[in-house]
């Protein structure tokens, strides 16, 4: 099985090349990962709650195992959480309708292709079609998550 952290890092690096998305997030430093290291970071529920505005958090949710086809044994499930900018501090802020579009359709790596049309690293194939969901946090603030599943090629 491929190290999931490699996929997480690749997704972050790729998202940081979507220029309009980086601008909407007020800089690439606000597109980051949650790492599950006890004693070093807060629990994931707290980390999502504490997301500043705007920001993007990429989280490893787990790996699906199975004999999906002759060459796929593992599917790595990542979630991209988004907290949108606020019109209090940003001129013409983007809403979630546009932010999720930038993630799934924004041109990456200086090409005309989007994140669904490339392998973020050679060990995974094209991402399965993402699922986009609205959520509400403990402050009753709306936010969105984008579920992405990356099939691993073979067994690394």
């Amino acid at each position: 099985m491929l190290k999931p952290s490699l996929v997480v890092n690749a997704v972050i690096t790729t998202l940081q090349t979507i220029q309009p998305f980086v601008a909407a997030m007020n800089g690439a430093q606000n597109i980051k990962a949650h790492s599950f290291v006890n004693g070093q970071v807060v629990p994931i529920m707290t980390d999502i709650y504490e997301m500043t505005s705007p920001s993007c958090l990429v989280v490893y949710e787990g790996t699906l195992g199975g004999n999906f086809d002759g060459m796929t044994m593992w599917k790595h499930h990542l979630t991209v959480y988004l907290k949108a900018p606020n019109q209090a501090t940003v001129q013409a802020p983007l809403g979630y309708e546009d932010l999720v579009w930038l993630v799934v359709n924004g041109a990456v790596n200086g090409t005309q292709l989007n994140i669904r049309q490339i392998s973020v690293i050679p060990e995974v194939t094209l991402v399965d079609t993402p699922t986009i969901t609205r959520l509400t946090d403990e402050t009753r603030t709306d936010f969105f998550k984008i579920d992405m599943v990356f099939p691993e090629i073979g067994d690394n």
Binding site: V42, T46, Y49, T52, S53, N86, A88, E138, T141
Partner: protein
């Protein structure tokens, strides 16, 4: 004395004792109507989840609930305004106004 007047007295007493001004924490309110920033008083209140730093500290929590006497502030805070608490910039995401002229501002830290 009317009930609301009694509550107003209670609010003022609470703000005088527990307000950020009593704690020497500057709270700079910037309304969106370009009327200019102004210092206001309020009480930092418990949010849904506590965080690892003190609300209003220089590092600042991500979420702050801030109680104010809304009728004492002109223009009245509303969604889309800003508030800088001890140098940390927050967006006002929500304003919950009660029947006694108080209001709870729901604020989230700006990245």
């Amino acid at each position: 004395m009317a009930f609301n007047d009694l509550v107003k007295l209670a609010h003022n007493a609470v703000l005088n004792v527990f307000g950020v001004q009593a704690e020497s924490i500057p709270a700079l309110f910037t309304p969106q109507d370009y009327s200019g920033p102004q210092f206001i008083n309020g009480v930092i209140s418990p949010p849904p989840l506590e965080e690892q730093v003190i609300p209003g500290s220089m590092t600042g929590t991500s979420v702050v609930y801030f109680f104010v006497r809304i009728v004492d502030i002109t223009p009245q805070p509303r969604i889309g305004d800003k508030l800088t608490l001890d140098g940390v910039l927050y967006n006002i995401d929500k304003v919950n106004i009660d029947n006694q002229n108080g209001a709870m501002l729901h604020m989230r830290k700006v990245s």
